[in-house]
Symmetry: C2
Subunit: 460 residues, 2 copies
């Protein structure tokens, strides 16, 4: 349904003629994200300043027009999709690194700075912004904040949440708030910063982000260990922690995933015969510490029954060890273009039970489900692969999803560790949260957005 001309006029006068677009191609393109199930926008706004964001919000608030913030469009749960139409507010022109403050170890950025670009900029100064979602060359800080992006380094360094010191954000009614600030400790009033992080663009539009930085660890070492089973690999994780090492990355890749990569790379074996799971482990820090920690990791893996432990002796070898992880996504794309990509998380010690559950689902629904992920955090990417033409398989995949989520909740886990709920998982919220908990979340939503205009149809 096109927006009323009066609304469009007001929007145009807020941000300028050329920054409100309504041509169908544009509205369709901005209506889709990495979930690939979209809905066209009625208009796309590209403001250049907080003031312009405020003006757009005011128009939408007063006219009860849906308003959907969009960053890099790399989300897997449709968080940026305007499911009720309305205005997509793309932050693409607000993409400057405003300040890198070496003395205070912080950066101030506009929301549409590409995460990888920020990392490059701070690393040139010997600093480090650890969160490393797989999409880091496409996704932007604003979206990372809205979704609380994770990544392999989260095990040692934490997720996006742990790096957001403060925010400037525009409320649905157009007023601007400042939360947190340039200090690492702040207990003045409620922690709105962390309420907004992960709120999936449903509470406020982020217009500025103050990020904590840390010194860049000078040295990395990578190891690869193979195991006959997932259970043995998880035991190795426990042994590593018992050895007092917190690796910078601790990734697991299961047999199905290894098969996919092997097939993609031409069929050669990637690991010893009988490998049921592979761990990629990276430690970082000062040279002496890294060397000692790598020794401890190798020992811990052997104690847990590793069939082989490789240790990169050079940067080339390190990149080679990581190759199998990097080739996972393209490899899975070759198996099938339709992937139900879930990011469930369970308490670490229950990861073997999660893999047992996936095995059961594979058999029961005759589905191919390669799994890999951040085992140190118990956060596993479960990829249900189906052919887009096979409607029967798609139906089975949907059934399998529900069984997976129910099982994860039974294992005291969470249905999403990284991707959020968006609209793709909204139907499952009640599996994990009680009616009372959802009710108070809805009350918080109503406090921020009484007319329900901001990113409607999401989360709940």
């Amino acid at each position: 349904m096109p927006l009323a001309p009066a609304i469009l006029d007001r929007l145009r006068s807020a941000v300028g003629q050329g920054h409100i677009r309504t041509d169908p191609d544009v509205c369709r393109a901005y209506g889709v994200d990495a979930l690939k199930r979209g809905h066209p926008a009625d208009a796309v706004a590209t403001p250049a300043s907080t003031r312009e964001v405020q003006a757009i919000a005011r128009v939408c608030h007063e006219t009860r027009t849906p308003l959907v913030p969009r960053g890099g469009g790399t989300g897997y749960t449709g968080g940026a999709v305007p499911v009720h139409g309305g205005v997509v507010i793309s932050m693409e022109r607000m993409n400057r690194i405003l300040e890198i403050d070496e003395g205070n170890l912080l950066a101030i950025v506009e929301p549409n700075v590409i995460t990888g670009d920020l990392q490059d900029a701070v690393e040139r100064l010997g600093l480090f912004y650890p969160p490393d979602p797989a999409s880091l060359r496409q996704s932007v800080i604003g979206g990372n904040v809205a979704e609380c992006a994770g990544g392999p380094r989260a095990f040692k360094y934490g997720v996006t949440k742990q790096y957001v010191l403060g925010l400037e954000a525009v409320l649905p009614n157009g007023s601007v708030i400042h939360t947190g600030g340039k200090v690492v400790k702040n207990v003045v009033g409620y922690d709105l910063t962390h309420l907004l992080v992960g709120s999936e663009g449903t509470l406020a539009i982020i217009t500025k982000v103050i990020l904590r930085l840390i010194p860049k660890p000078p040295v990395q070492a990578a190891l690869r260990a193979t195991f006959s089973s997932v259970a043995a690999a998880v035991n190795a994780v426990t042994e590593v922690i018992r050895a007092r090492v917190i690796p910078a990355a601790l990734e697991i890749i299961d047999e199905d995933s290894l098969d996919a990569v092997s097939h993609f790379l031409g069929g050669g074996a990637l690991a010893p015969a009988g490998t049921g799971a592979l761990l990629l482990i990276e430690v970082d820090g000062l040279a002496e510490q890294v060397s000692e920690e790598a020794d401890r990791v190798a020992r811990a893996c052997r104690v847990a029954g590793a069939t082989e432990v490789l240790r990169a002796g050079s940067e080339t070898e390190r990149q080679e060890l990581w190759r199998v992880r990097r080739e996972l996504s393209p490899s899975l794309r070759v198996i099938s273009s339709l992937k139900f990509n879930h990011d469930v998380v369970v308490p670490k010690a229950r990861v073997p039970e999660l893999f047992d559950l996936v095995d059961e689902i594979r058999r029961r629904f005759s589905l191919r489900i390669p799994c890999f992920g951040h085992v140190g955090d118990g956060n596993i990417h479960v990829n249900i692969m189906v052919s887009p033409e096979d409607t029967a398989a798609i139906a089975r995949a949907h059934e399998a999803e529900r069984v997976l989520f129910e099982g994860v909740v039974r294992l005291e886990g969470s249905i999403s560790g990284e991707h959020g709920i968006g609209f793709a998982k909204a139907a499952f919220l009640g599996l994990e949260l009680s009616a009372e908990t959802i009710a108070i979340m809805r009350a918080v939503k109503a406090a921020f957005d009484p007319h329900g205009i901001l990113n409607p149809g999401k989360v709940f």
Copy 2:
């Protein structure tokens, strides 16, 4: 104003006759915390279970009776004081460690577990709960969570917030919610966990806490470095970070504070003549790393112009280095029994400007103001010392407070890094937060507590 007999009857039937007390001595004792400016409760309730907390909340909600949660009563801003009377709900009977889960590195506790007791219990298993408020032998986890307690180790390990994985909490209307859980990553719905942390008992009553643990660092090393000025000491902090070391503690003690301790201990010199500031630095981790990091710290301090660098060679020497820090509180108590104890925080690089500001305040208001604190976080305890009989000095101290807070905000800091707002600092909230930001916080408060019964008169 005594509570109506009907209300008392309902409370008694909720938790049992003996667990609702109204005798004046008890009501006075539970009306005071470490701020030492109290107001008596009308009744003191001591529930033993979440169900009993719910029953009490329901009675207070329906009868619009103020309800004030209380943990260890060690807060410095009056957070546990029933300023409008009503029922103080002391969590003292809910004091069990329910579970220490070594496999998943977490603990589940009731709110009134003493923080130091939990630390002892997990350390016996080789695990570590880092947050270390000075009150850790008296304060309790529930209070630490409500206030987001910090401590010296926050620089490396973060504050309480970074260790809370999940909460069970009772809303003012008596319903119970569960936030977060046993997993370290969770992006399902809003992050109510971190909204409740630091909310000073104004949003919900915490009845259970799931805490993240980490492996205990096996080795510590302590260093002490003296400098001719605060600015030189802060330079040393920058040099330490540049040397890629994140110390477990990084404490500064100024000249006034050193004088107080020296006087308390009998007058001997505690540091070389001309010392303007002293740094206590502790590094921890694996033995090899600790030794290397201690070398780097010593070098960094010398580069920054340290007049002396001492390094503890044994545990006894380490305790000796920390002695001056430990004796600070008793030493200040000797100077004066009335202490306006503030916990301001500024961006680290602006700490010298903060000390300049304090110097100016000292001169302008003729006040003695020893300062010490967590310089790595820019979080400095500013102690305005006055005699309780000297009403003129007390008036000057109040003026000085406002000048301090205004200056801190000008330095892009925050008026509280650890103690919170309570009622003692409520008048200053508007110095730091805009009207729009306070308005949305109030809307959040109303979403949780529509009748304003929970800990009224606080924060706002």
